[in-house]
């Protein structure tokens, strides 16, 4: 049965590419930028606001309204082929005046490139960026987590719900800097809410819509749910 299995290493699509080496003595700022950065600037002009090279990694800071087009181009263009989305996350600085950043870490597996795309969102406007779910399915949970932790809405995500915190979580967005380390509510309030939670309400309404699951619930619970009470996880 080991027939179809093979040991190989295909490596880069570009066979002439040099063997990658461990980066050493990387300068703090400056150094060679990722080739894609210049091509982005040439193609998208002012939508690419700034290109930085920090510790050898290229960061492209782009306009929020252009980010979907830029990432789509990076994914689709045969000379770029950023087919792998490593990570989506947010950064908020301790200086609350500074904008919140949304960061995409992209990899081009065929060309062995790594690019960081960044969007800066000022806090006086709603925190919204377009979702890249239509390009990368891996964005599904990563964007949900970013929304859960920072409250950044990914417009176009098919199912933007909390993922790590529970659906009824009311304390806000934990990784925001104005969120205290021990939570917004007191321990007494947290305990009260935990005890008041209905342990039977384990399913979401979407799940209860499966077949007759709703009818299988105890009658008092069905009445409470019909009366508008929300189910929990």
């Amino acid at each position: 049965m080991t027939g179809p299995f093979e040991i190989q290493y295909a490596g880069s699509a570009d066979q002439g590419a040099p063997v990658p080496v461990t980066p050493k003595q990387v300068p703090h700022r400056g150094g060679a930028a990722n080739l894609s950065a210049a091509e982005l600037q040439a193609r998208f002009g002012a939508a690419v606001r700034r290109v930085e090279v920090v510790w050898g990694e290229t960061t492209v800071i782009v306009a929020p309204e252009a980010v979907l087009d830029i990432i789509r181009w990076l994914h689709d263009d045969p000379s770029q082929r950023y087919d792998y989305l490593s990570d989506v996350t947010g950064v908020e600085f301790r200086d609350l005046e500074l904008p919140i950043e949304v960061v995409w870490h992209l990899r081009s597996l065929p060309y062995r490139r790594f690019l960081r795309v960044k969007v800066q969102l000022t806090k006086n406007r709603p925190l919204e960026v377009p979702s890249v779910w239509s390009i990368y399915k891996s964005a599904d949970w990563l964007e949900r987590e970013c929304y859960d932790m920072f409250g950044i809405r990914f417009v176009g995500h098919p199912d933007l719900r909390r993922i790590l915190m529970w659906e009824q979580y009311r304390e806000g967005f934990p990784l925001r800097k104005d969120f205290p380390l021990r939570g917004r509510f007191s321990r007494a309030e947290q305990l009260r809410q935990a005890l008041a939670a209905n342990p039977e309400a384990r399913y979401s309404m979407e799940e209860l819509s499966i077949a007759d699951a709703f009818e299988d619930l105890p009658s008092d619970m069905r009445q409470r749910l019909r009366g508008g009470e929300r189910t929990g996880e």
Binding site: E6, Y9, G11, K24, D87, S138
Partner: protein, 437 residues
């Protein structure tokens, strides 16, 4: 005494019909009291149950979900129509806590996310922090970290092998693999004093150098371990039950696997030869001679084959690392980062000042950011750190491979049987500590 039944005569059925539309002929059986009873044939077609889908909940306390994963399944008969996963039961806010800790103080938290790869996470975090500080570790430290990372890959794959065997119904390989895992933990214990939560690295070096004679222990493990791999191989690879329960399950095509962000053995089983050690090397991995196993079908069976081969390749790397381990210091010679020896801290003024500053304030990296990814046993594990020039990171992000791999489970289990959900879930090799953080 068993009831004896004899066919004595044939009667005409009241419900069934034969191919010609006549009443079916069914046997008459005498019951114990002597009366004759017609045995009706079962209906030719099973009643149509398709309209009634069932809601099934697995977890979060189910042992086969490898932690506190909860799956809500919509079943049509025994076939999965839809799978809605729920995670977050183990959420501890590691990333939030990291913003309140100095860099060296975060290292214990990295033990506790992917706790099967704790020493690998230590090394990965230190690599990220060292990028942020702009330092390169010593030659000896580099090789020691390679040894640590490959040992932890072996641990993680052994736990995966054992628990997956249990899930699928084979018990013996579980005992063999956990016995070997204990030996690796013994090695780690002799090195850093801890087994599971190692906290083995520091920014700029290691907590401890290996003790005398430790390499002999490593070599004897490397020599004896292939026999266990061979045993498990003989037990499983051509085993009809194992093959029957793994082949063709949870298939991901190469394009899908890349698009879903899968990494590690999950991705390579689908035929994509992406290994961070080869493509974006760190710790001089490009100088080691090892192969990256790649599957072709992307099913549970190929993931098993890939992980088994990775165990052998890890041994190759370990052997080379043990042979090339140079002498010399483990920690970088930088008093801004590395604590002075205690004897000097209590006798020399300068060392005492460094000691005080390091403990009370912590080392301060320049303003900047770094994303460092390693090939953890589960896949691409990344640490993204942003510094604003203070001794604590503004943001410490873990890119969890299990989390992204698990997000594809809804797609992978669709259309498979309920019992196959367990096998597919096991093949992802999730650690909930890493998913929920």
């Amino acid at each position: 005494m068993a009831t004896q039944k004899r066919t004595v005569e044939v009667a005409l059925s009241t419900t069934g019909v034969d191919a010609q539309g006549n009443p079916q002929r069914v046997p008459l059986v005498t019951a114990d009291d002597g009366t004759a009873v017609a045995v009706e044939a079962p209906p030719a077609v099973e009643p149509d149950l398709a309209a009634e889908h069932m809601l099934i909940n697995i977890g979060p306390q189910h042992p086969a979900t490898h932690g506190v994963l909860r799956l809500v399944l919509e079943l049509d008969g025994e076939t999965v129509v839809r799978c809605i996963p729920h995670v977050g039961y183990l959420h501890c806010g590691f990333e939030k806590i990291g913003e309140y800790r100095q860099y060296n103080q975060i290292i214990p938290w990295t033990d506790r996310e992917d706790y099967l790869n704790s020493i690998g996470n230590n090394c990965a975090f230190s690599l990220g922090a060292e990028r942020l500080f702009g330092i390169d570790v010593t030659e000896r430290c580099t090789v020691l970290r390679v040894i640590a990372m490959e040992l932890s890959r072996i641990i993680s794959h052994l736990v995966w092998l054992g628990t997956t065997c249990i899930d699928i119904g084979a018990f013996t390989p579980f005992l063999w693999s956990f016995q070997r895992r204990e030996q690796v933990y013994d090695l780690l214990e002799a090195w850093v004093g801890a087994r599971l939560t190692t906290t083995a690295t520091r920014v700029g070096g290691m907590a401890a150098d290996i003790p005398d004679g430790w390499l002999d222990g490593l070599r004897s493990f490397v020599r004896s371990f292939p026999s266990t791999i061979d045993e498990c191989d003989r037990m499983l690879t051509k085993n009809a039950i194992w093959v029957g329960r793994t082949v063709g399950l949870g298939v991901m095509t190469p394009d899908e696997a890349v698009n879903y962000g899968l990494s590690g053995p999950m991705l390579r089983a689908s035929g994509v030869a992406y290994d961070v050690r080869k493509d974006f090397p760190y710790l001089d991995y490009e100088t080691y001679d090892f192969d990256v196993p790649v599957g072709t079908n992307g099913d549970v069976y190929d993931r098993y084959l890939v992980r088994m081969e990775e165990l052998r390749q890890s041994l190759r790397i370990l052997e080379q690392a043990a042979n090339r381990l140079p002498d010399g210091p483990v920690n970088v010679d930088d008093p801004r980062l590395i604590l002075p020896p205690k004897s000097k801290a209590t006798s020399e003024m300068e060392s005492m000042i460094h000691h005080f500053k390091l403990v009370m304030e912590g080392p301060r990296p320049p303003i900047g950011e770094a994303y460092v990814a390693i090939e953890s046993p589960k896949g691409e594990k990344g640490y993204y750190m942003v510094s604003d020039g203070t001794s604590k990171p503004v943001r410490w992000r873990i890119r969890p491979p299990s989390f992204v791999n698990l997000s594809a489970i809804s797609k992978m289990v669709e259309g498979h049987l309920l019992s196959d959900v367990i096998a597919i879930n096991a093949s992802i090799d999730i650690v909930m500590g890493e998913i929920d953080r």
